[in-house]
């Protein structure tokens, strides 16, 4: 009795809800999704092959352009990997500046995301407000590094620009205003009835599934599991930073929104603490051109989750093998688990739930999860 009750709804590669090209083929029965086949890799530019063909110095430009929103995370990870291979240790001031920049980037990425989720749910006013307030952070980036989105502040051996005391005051003033706005989003997200109706119990990911499918970042923390690279495997100067890892046990898109909004407030606290305890001294050391043979794994907590770079050098000026595994790639099995059995109208909001950054995982792929073709009610 093979009646074709399900119709196939293509989603992408060009779709208003998705800021990036990827293609999901949904099998829809009535209004419920029964199967999803992602066909991704549209953003596959072959960065790993290009990295092997270019020197370490040139590689940092490629690592920066893996993803436009989490550039500092990728360059931080790249720089730490190569510095570990070279055996040089970075001056403490550079570590602090790297930490401040990556927390600023978390602010800009999370407020961008809060706006996008509101836009997916049709709540355009919050989208406009969140993006308008985010401009303050982008202006800060422009003053600090000269670039609004791509900053090129991390380099092998430290950072390229210093944070002067008068610049630190400007950061504090901006954060004063931004903290009020971040708390405002937290209040709106928790109280706005129509937005709650669209995010509560949508895209549920139980803690057991989250752990089994190795979700990372806010998607994992929204299912009640305390997984944060800044706490478990501290890099830069995070071991001296007092901050708490925010989790929520509501396991749905509402939980992810709440976790990200609270993390914004947390990041402001980290930046303030770091600005007070900014150590004196030089902020960059010379890095040799050739790297002695060796291999290293470096991990960073990008706004979307754990970002891992594996580097293997063979003594020349070019890496023998360089692997980038971006956070969104780790969240895809969890995403496909959430996407089965939901309403068609919830697809964009669940997709936006894990804050996908498909240009990060340019080697993204997933097998057909049609295993659940039964009536997954």
């Amino acid at each position: 009795m093979g009646y074709a009750s399900t119709i196939k709804v293509p989603f992408g590669p060009q779709h208003p809800a998705l800021k990036e090209p990827e293609h999901f083929l949904f099998e829809v029965d009535g209004d419920t999704v029964v199967g999803v086949t992602p066909r991704i890799g549209y953003v596959h530019r072959g960065i790993e092959k290009a990295l092997e063909l270019s020197t370490y110095g040139h590689g940092i430009y490629l690592a920066e352009r893996v993803c436009g929103i989490c550039t500092i995370a990728h360059t931080c990870c790249y720089a730490q990997a190569i510095e570990e291979l070279m055996g040089i240790d970075v001056p403490p001031r550079a570590n602090y500046i790297r930490m401040i920049m990556s927390e600023l980037e978390r602010l800009h990425s999370h407020s961008l995301w809060v706006g996008l989720v509101a836009h997916e749910a049709g709540f355009d006013t919050l989208f406009m407000y969140a993006w308008r307030d985010r401009e303050a952070i982008l202006n800060l980036f422009q003053e600090l590094t000269g670039g609004r989105v791509l900053h090129a502040i991390n380099t092998l051996g430290g950072v390229r620009r210093d944070i002067s005391s008068e610049m630190a005051d400007r950061i504090r003033r901006t954060l004063e205003h931004f903290e009020g706005r971040a708390r405002e989003y937290l209040r709106i997200v928790r109280t706005e009835p129509t937005f709650l109706r669209r995010t509560r119990d949508v895209g549920v990911l139980k803690p057991a599934d989250a752990a089994r499918l190795n979700a990372v970042g806010p998607t994992l923390r929204a299912s009640g599991i305390k997984g944060d690279v800044r706490r478990d495997d501290p890099y830069a100067a995070y071991d001296e930073m007092p901050f708490n890892v925010i989790t929520s046990d509501s396991c749905d898109v509402f939980g992810r929104t709440e976790v990200r909004a609270e993390e914004m407030v947390e990041s402001i606290g980290i930046i303030r603490h770091a600005l007070e305890h900014l150590p004196e001294g030089v902020f960059r050391v010379r890095a040799p051109r050739n790297v002695p043979a060796g291999e290293c794994v470096s991990r960073v907590e990008a706004p979307r989750g754990e970002d891992m770079h594996y580097a293997r050098s063979n003594g020349t000026a070019k890496p023998d093998r360089y692997k980038i595994r971006a956070p969104t790639l780790a969240n895809i099995p969890a995403l496909c688990k959430m996407l089965v059995g939901i309403h068609v109208a919830d697809i964009p909001i669940i997709l936006a739930g894990i804050d996908p950054c498909f240009s990060c995982m340019d080697r993204m792929v997933f097998i057909r999860s049609g295993g659940a073709t039964g009536r997954a009610r």
Binding site: P13, Q14, P16, K19, E20, P21, G41, Y42, V43, H44, R45, G46, I47, K49, A50, L53, Y61, L62, R65, V66, C67, G68, I69, T71, L112, G115, F127, M128, W131, R132, R134, E135, L138, R148, V149, L150, C357, S359, D362
Partner: protein, 141 residues
């Protein structure tokens, strides 16, 4: 005369990311938000290619997406224009040497305005679109 005033007065845009690092995309979307607000020029972001006049493309065209870019371009009703946003769209930029990248947008669809920059600031994008509007007004004015 009225038609060219109408065409340059209400340019509807559709955005397509062909494999870029989405630095240009968030700058393009930032142009729509209150601080830059392109709706002052009557610009609206449309969902379906059928409703749009201007196709804003970001990102170096990867081999797989070239086909979809061509299809979206064909679906748009004429008169249609293409704006290539960002150095990737203009020439493929750092990924030009990669084995999987097609190079700039003009290797797939005819482009009217190139906006260089990695990523170009929202002001630069608005300036690019303003030049395109002058071009529309100019040719038929």
């Amino acid at each position: 005369m009225a038609v060219s005033w109408a065409r340059s007065g209400s340019p509807w845009l559709i955005h397509f990311n062909t494999g870029g690092c989405n630095g240009c995309d968030i700058e393009f979307v930032a142009a729509i938000t209150p601080v830059y607000d392109v709706e002052r020029f009557g610009i609206k972001l449309q969902g379906s290619p059928r409703h749009a006049d201007i196709l804003a493309v970001t990102g170096p065209v990867t081999v797989q997406i070239a086909h979809s870019l061509k299809r979206v371009y064909d679906q748009m009703p004429s008169p249609k224009f293409v704006v290539a946003l960002g150095t990737c769209a203009v020439s493929g930029a750092p990924f030009r040497s990669c084995y999987c990248v097609h190079g700039g947008v003009d290797s797939v669809v005819p482009v009217d305005v190139y906006v260089p920059g990695c990523p170009p600031k929202p002001e630069a994008m608005i300036d690019g679109i303003a030049k395109l509007l002058q071009k529309i007004r100019g040719t038929e004015g």
